[in-house]
Assembly symmetry: C2
Homo-oligomer: 357 residues x 2
């Protein structure tokens, strides 16, 4: 048995994030750790489970399922191992089951975690989608959990802008959970990666969602919480990011919105930085890249060109750009572009109209 095989055994037999197993592997290596566990080094059910995995065909089954979805099992021995996961210390994953198009190390080099409420509002989903889209424009990978609400909106925003995204699952990478997201997960696999600590075929367990969140936080340079109710599970990702010393950001929302209350309390307690503009968040993931996006669309160029000449109201801009020599933008184009440029912090709305910063 080599290191990779031993890690596969432990990955199948142990609960993700079990620090006793992590400590044994760190101390003795994975191969010896398996032997020691079989010899009774650790108390509890782990001995029985490892013995059972070794005596059964569970590894072959997992590897067959992995092959069926063209996946790979990446371990710290591989050059594609994302070294930022070492920050998790004894809670670092033993290996990552990966499915999709890309190298997890390369893909997570400039990564932003975007997380939040499953029961998100239309406002929250719109912001998550716009963040995904802007991240894509900056060649920043969005890491999320493929759940309903904010997660899905963030993945979709990236995909709509042709960017790359990673979905970290609490179940196997070949299991569509939630099942309504089967199509979304397929598209993530085609434009990024689906990864999991749990072997292919694993069903999602409730406690695994919280443990999974540490991978989302550790893979990413920054974590952004878009919406979260008080005591929301998505706050656990923020807690992990804080514990890892990574910047954590919270998107403000209406004071009266229960799905923003967890974010507001997080900001009030100093656990998150308030997001005043999305460009500042992206800057913490990929410094000095923020200026490149502004010229990414012809609409943005036309609006900025007009505003460089003079301050304009929305109506003036629409009138001017609908019949411009260089552009024929619809009112819808202009409004969408203004919102995007405002969120990027490139323009502001003053009493006299829109103005370049």
């Amino acid at each position: 048995m080599n290191d990779r095989e031993a890690r596969a055994v432990l990955s199948i037999a142990s609960e993700p994030g079990d620090e006793r197993v992590g400590a044994l592997v760190a101390q003795s290596g994975a191969v010896t750790a398996v032997d020691l566990i079989v010899a009774g080094e650790l108390s509890g059910a782990i001995r029985e489970r490892v013995t059972k995995v070794l005596a059964s065909n569970q590894i072959a089954v997992a590897l067959n399922k992995l092959e069926a979805c063209s996946g790979v099992f990446v371990t710290p021995c591989d050059s594609s191992w994302p070294t930022q996961l070492y920050d998790l210390d004894l809670a670092a994953p033993l290996g990552l089951w990966c499915r999709g198009d890309g190298d997890v190390q390369e893909l997570s080099e400039h990564a932003l975690a975007v997380v939040g409420a499953r029961a998100a509002t239309a406002y929250g989903e719109r912001i998550a989608s716009e963040v995904g889209s802007l991240a894509a424009d900056h060649a920043i990978t969005v890491v999320s959990g493929a759940a309903y609400g904010i997660d899905a909106a963030a993945h979709r925003g990236v995909l709509a802008s042709g960017g790359r995204t990673i979905a970290v699952l609490a179940c196997g990478v070949d299991v569509a959970y939630p099942s309504a997201h089967q199509g979304l997960l397929e598209r993530v696999a085609e434009n990024g990666l689906i990864i999991s600590e749990a072997p292919p075929g694993s069903k999602p367990h409730k406690r695994r969602f919280l443990v999974r969140n540490r991978i989302i936080a550790a893979l990413s340079a920054s974590t952004l919480v878009v919406e979260a109710a008080l005591r929301s599970g998505s706050l656990s990702t923020a807690n992990w990011a804080n514990a890892l010393g990574r910047p954590v950001w919270g998107v403000p929302g209406p004071l009266s919105s229960a799905t923003s209350a967890g974010v507001h309390v997080g900001i009030a307690q100093g656990e998150m930085n308030i997001v005043a503009d999305i460009a500042s968040v992206l800057e913490t993931v990929r410094p000095k890249s923020a200026s490149s996006v502004y010229h990414s669309s012809s609409e943005a160029l036309a609006v900025l060109e007009a505003l460089k000449r003079r301050v304009c109201t929305t109506d003036q801009l629409i009138a001017q750009l609908q019949h411009g020599t260089d552009s024929q933008l619809t009112a819808h184009d202009v409004l969408g572009t203004l919102t995007l440029l405002q969120l990027q912090g490139v323009i502001i709305q003053t009493a006299l109209g829109w103005k370049c910063l």
Copy 2:
């Protein structure tokens, strides 16, 4: 000429907040300051203006106008002088022209400044009105500027709940500005005070609005900014409050809302604390009083009573309270009460329903 008369002369002749005049008064007293200015102690137009006031009937005119609206001119010699204004040091007002029902010192003992955008959103006005209403329930006086938008909504929220409020104007206390707020100002005078540094009859000048804001900040124990665009004038009140060492609070709003952008940047730059619930803000004005409000309405009592028994969804609460033995609340009553109690931080919304904290 006595001290009060000398202060009236200087109040009419000088620009509010002129620190050279403030320094002279602090050093020599108001009576001698008038003499010194007439003798040419200060450069600029002030000498000419003081001489003109002394030679004219301007004081008599101002006092007649004050009498016509049953006002008083309050100075530091009076027991009703709000001593917190001394924190303004040389920029402290020379006197306050007051109109209405109450003693400015007593009324401002527990005072919260509520300020914000004139071009406020419906969301901002609703929050301002709810803050006014909650402040009234806590016997906290709301200080604001009677402007369109947030100011007016805050005053109105107080008045609707039978509370007390102070409008600090940049014009004379007998001048309705904006004129559309004549009715509102009358009601403020009946349930609190209209005050100004400028003598009765004064027209509003643009620069006086920013100078006026220091009085709003200095009178109040805390300042709350409900909505403010970037570079908004209402941020000057926050700056004054910060300079005076008073807590400053900012209400979060949608990231995409231009009228919340100034608040979000203020929070990001550490110039404001984010408001996660209004009770925390009121607590900084009147400690330990926050618990009293929860029993102020029979609706609140009925909702809390139900939630003390068990966690309920909104629908369960509506069903229960519509046909309760003690209460017959409409769905509208229940929803409004839930929002109010949530904003007060007394209840939270969990995945299972509403819960008492």
